[in-house]
Symmetry: C2
Subunit: 191 residues, 2 copies
C-alpha cells in the first residue's frame, strides 16, 4: 500500500506574470489587491483553475512573500483554494509552519474573494495578522460557488484573536473576474 506523495506547484506562468507586474512595490492595499486580481484573471484566461488569487505580504515592508491561485481542478486536490496555496508557498519559502513565528515580521493575506469556511479557519493557523478581501461571499455565491459555514460570528472570532479584517478592496475588479469565469462556462467545483 504505497501512498502517493502530494505535490503542489504553481502554474508555469506565475513567475512571468508576477515579474511583469513589476514584482512590486506594493505600497497600498489597492496595489496588493491589483496583483491578486491579476493572478485570478490569468488563472481563468490560461485555463489553470478557478477565478481566485491570493498573496502573502510582509505588513511593514510590503514585501511579497507568497502567491496562490486556485488549483483544485488542475492538481486534483479539493484543498487547493488560492488562499491555502498562498499560505503553503509562503511557509515553504520561509521554512516555518507559522508566519507569526518568533523573529518574523507580521504578515497579511490579500485575497481576491472572501474566504470560504476552510480558508477562514486556516487564517488562524497560518500566522497572518491581517486579511484583505476583494469580492464578497455573495459575489461568489452568484456563480453557485458554495462557501460553507461562515457566519458573522466566524469573523468576530478572528477579530477576537487580534486579526484585522478589511473587506471590499477593489471589489468591482475582483467581481469582474468571477463574471469572466461564469461567461466562459468555468467549472463550479464547489457546487
Amino acid at each position: 500500500m504505497p501512498w502517493p506523495a502530494v505535490q503542489i506547484a504553481l502554474p508555469g506562468w506565475m513567475d512571468q506574470v508576477v515579474l511583469d507586474g513589476g514584482a512590486g512595490p506594493y505600497p497600498s492595499d489597492d496595489a496588493k489587491m491589483r496583483l491578486v486580481v491579476r493572478l485570478s484573471r490569468e488563472n481563468v484566461l490560461r485555463g489553470t483553475g478557478g477565478p481566485f488569487g491570493a498573496a502573502i505580504f510582509e505588513r511593514r515592508s510590503n514585501r511579497l512573500v507568497g502567491v496562490g491561485v486556485n488549483s483544485v481542478v488542475r492538481l486534483g486536490n479539493s484543498v487547493l483554494h488560492a488562499k491555502m496555496v498562498a499560505y503553503m508557498i509562503a511557509q515553504a519559502r520561509l521554512g516555518t509552519w507559522s508566519l507569526a513565528a518568533p523573529g518574523l515580521p507580521q504578515h497579511e493575506l490579500v485575497t481576491s474573494c472572501e474566504p470560504c469556511a476552510m480558508c477562514l479557519g486556516a487564517v488562524l493557523w497560518s500566522g497572518v495578522t491581517r486579511v484583505i478581501c476583494g469580492a464578497a461571499r455573495e459575489d461568489a455565491a452568484r456563480l453557485d460557488f458554495e462557501e460553507g459555514p461562515v457566519f458573522p460570528e466566524s469573523w468576530q472570532y478572528l477579530e477576537g484573536r487580534g486579526i484585522e479584517v478589511v473587506r471590499g478592496v477593489l471589489r468591482e475588479e475582483a467581481r469582474g473576474v468571477l463574471e469572466l469565469y461564469r461567461k466562459r462556462g468555468g467549472e463550479i467545483y464547489n457546487g
Copy 2:
C-alpha cells in the same frame, strides 16, 4: 522569484504500521477508529507530529483509501492537519478533486478528534458523505489546542448538505493519545 514547490509525504513508518494493523478488514466504525487512533499514537511515539490521525474509507466496501497524520511541524506547513492530509492522499490516489466524483462509491472520513474550523470547512469540498469522530473538541482544548470558529450551526450546515456525522466513537482511547502528547510535552502549534 522562483517559488518553492510544496511536497507532502506521509512519515516513513506509515506503510508498516498500516500493514501491521492487518490492512483491514475494517468492518465497523470501531475498527476504523481503532486504526486512526493507532496512527495518532504512532505519530506521537515516533515524534513525527501532533496527536491526530485520520483516514478515508469507502463506505460500502470499507476499503481503506487514504490516511493522514498531523504533519504541521514535521513539514513546516500549518495546513497539514491529519484530516487535510487524508483528503489529499485519498484524492491523489484516486486522481480526483472530489471523493464524490461521478462513478465513485461513497466515502467517509474517520478522525481521531473532531475537526477544527479549517478541517470542518474542508469536509464539504472533499466529497466525503460521512464523518466519524473520536475525541471531542473540548478534549483537544484541554491541551490548549485552539479549534477555531466551529459552532453548532457549522455541524448543522454539514448535515443540511447531506453529510452524516457520528461523534464519540472510542472517545476514551482517542483522548488517551491527547493525554500522552501532553505528558510528553508535545508542541501546541495551534495555541
